[in-house]
């Protein structure tokens, strides 16, 4: 009994020491992140100085951090930043939802049926290597609205990471899990919803995270097309009106939102994961 208590006390000491070490590590990585961002800002600022002092480039001086960040604050205060972000987010989410709706079932079919894998392997590797933006003319012809074309381009870009990640995850699943489930009387839908989807949830989410990154990158050039809203349009518009501070501020918004979306995905993955990483 008394040795148990001693052991418990020891364990508690151990745990709090571990927690302190963990906190210290978190603090340190935060410090590094802040330092990295400061370096980036300095680089931007130096770039601004160089542009300002070059007679050939002086017209672009508003790219520098001071005017750009001042404009950003203004844009946030006026709601302009929000207004240009919402349509873009809508398009990305729509394209991503379609990519998931297609990529997950097809990925499962490929991962589960060897013949499907053999047949689709080469065509899919081939299609995947085509830049999504090269579909642009076809998308414009095929869709009645600009919005439709943009969502299609995002979907084309986002579907591959989801599909391949799902298929690869399923291939790694322990075959014994299927055998045991079958032995316990699982029907195909039980197999899908009780075994397969939870088993590969992390792979699917990782695929979605990659897809989101690609979709966000494709979004801006796609929004150079026809539409009169969104972040890509805002960049083009700022260039046409020579408002380089607005252009730089929009770039910052794109970066920040992309970062936040990726961070949210990462959090969702670690929240939903059943994998033990120790």
């Amino acid at each position: 009994m008394s040795t148990d208590l001693v052991a418990d006390a020891f364990m508690e000491g151990e745990v709090s020491a571990q927690r302190r070490a963990g906190q210290w590590k978190a603090l340190r990585s935060l410090g590094y992140a802040v330092a990295g961002m400061a370096l980036l800002l300095v680089a931007w600022w130096i770039g601004g100085l160089l542009v300002e002092n070059d007679p050939a480039l002086v017209a672009f001086a508003d790219f520098a951090p001071e005017p750009a960040l001042a404009r950003l604050v203004e844009m946030i205060a006026s709601g302009e930043a929000w207004a240009m972000t919402v349509p873009s987010l809508g398009r990305v989410m729509e394209g991503l939802a379609l990519a998931v709706a297609i990529g997950v079932p097809v990925g499962i079919a490929i991962g589960r049926v060897p013949v499907m894998r053999e047949i689709t392997n080469i065509p899919f590797q081939f299609l995947r290597m085509i830049s999504p933006l090269s579909w642009m003319p076809i998308a414009v012809m095929a869709f009645a609205t600009w919005d439709g074309a943009i969502v299609f381009l995002i979907m084309i870009a986002a579907v591959w990471p989801v599909l391949f990640s799902t298929a690869a995850g399923l291939k790694r699943v322990d075959p014994a899990w299927f055998r045991v489930a079958r032995n316990l009387g699982a029907r195909p839908w039980h197999m899908l919803f009780t075994i397969i989807l939870p088993a590969i949830s992390q792979d699917i989410l990782t695929g979605i995270r990659l897809a989101l990154g690609v979709a966000w990158i494709v979004l801006v050039p796609a929004e150079y097309l026809g539409v009169t809203s969104g972040l890509g349009y805002a960049i083009n518009d700022a260039r046409d009106t020579l408002e380089y501070d607005r252009l730089a501020a929009t770039v910052v918004i794109i970066g920040v939102i992309g970062f936040v979306l990726d961070f949210a995905c990462q959090q969702a993955i670690s929240r939903l994961s059943w994998h033990r990483d120790d």
Partner: protein
């Protein structure tokens, strides 16, 4: 709950692209509530035979009947436990145990049946734990509870304890036999561990290798299976060992390769496994 009668009738199985059949013309019966061990050297076709009996593999020839009904697919009425517990790590202990009931549309029984099964395997306090927090022996107990939850009539075990340490293995061997006897379930056990067969089974079928055939039937009628120092135990074990040697020797004569080896079982059907012992 009551055990089923099991009849294996002329089973022969040849794997694709294999020359010799893995098992050849095997017939035997198991009485309701009886505990039968299939013993034999690694590769003699024990797992193949068990998988066929469970309906997981269709045999090349022959039929398996459970209470007269021919087995064509797996069913929660006859369940197999493997060497790996294969619990689902995204579920709690209780959710794992409830699976068979969930799959067979008996959800209403979950609330009563799952705690009952956990009590049976002495893991009542672990219902809400994640299975990844359990030891190997505890995980195998959960797998046992999961197999028993849907009230099977036959429980088939394929070397289920060989990845466990000797002490845990001994406890589980006795517990599984006791539980099967209490519930009246028919038990079929595959093992290459003679002591395990003696502790758990009422009768042992010794298989010869290449091709797998029944070499000898050894009855094991022990009064006391808790004390392994009795002369009865030593005698039963010696009889089984002799039959095992005979089966291995016959194979030596016929194939002329290798000696009676002590290599651990390399099981073609259990793909993923850590080193046994």
């Amino acid at each position: 709950m009551r055990g089923a009668h099991l009849a294996v009738e002329g089973i022969t199985h040849r794997y694709r692209r294999a020359g010799q059949p893995a098992v050849c013309d095997i017939s035997f019966e198991v009485n309701p509530g009886e505990a039968l061990a299939l013993v034999g050297r690694s590769g003699c076709g024990k797992s193949t035979l068990l998988h066929i009996m469970a309906g997981l593999v269709p045999p090349t020839q022959g039929t398996v009947r459970i209470d007269g009904l021919s087995v064509v697919e797996p069913s929660p009425r006859w369940v197999v436990m493997f060497q790996q517990p294969s619990l689902y790590p995204w579920m709690s202990v209780a959710q794992n145990v409830a699976l068979g009931l969930k799959f067979t549309g008996r959800k209403r029984e979950i609330a009563t049946r799952v705690p009952e099964m956990l009590r049976l395997v002495e893991l009542s306090d672990y219902a809400d734990r994640n299975v990844q927090d359990l030891s190997g022996g505890q995980q195998q107990r959960v797998a046992l509870a999961r197999s028993l939850a849907s009230s099977p009539e036959v429980l088939m075990l394929d070397e289920p304890f060989s990845a466990l340490d000797a002490f845990t293995r001994g406890t589980l061997q006795r517990d599984v036999r006791r539980i099967a006897k209490d519930l009246g379930i028919t038990l079929v056990l595959v093992t290459h561990d003679l002591a395990e067969a003696v502790v758990m089974a009422d009768r042992a079928l010794v298989l010869a290798t290449n091709p797998g055939r029944i070499s000898k039937v050894v009855p094991i009628d022990l009064e006391n299976r808790d004390d392994l120092r009795t002369p009865e135990y030593a005698e039963a074990r010696a009889r089984l060992a002799a039959a095992y040697e005979t089966a291995a020797g016959r194979e030596l004569e016929s194939s002329g390769t290798g000696g009676p080896s002590a290599t651990p079982d390399d099981d073609g059907l259990n793909a993923a496994r850590p080193a046994a012992r």
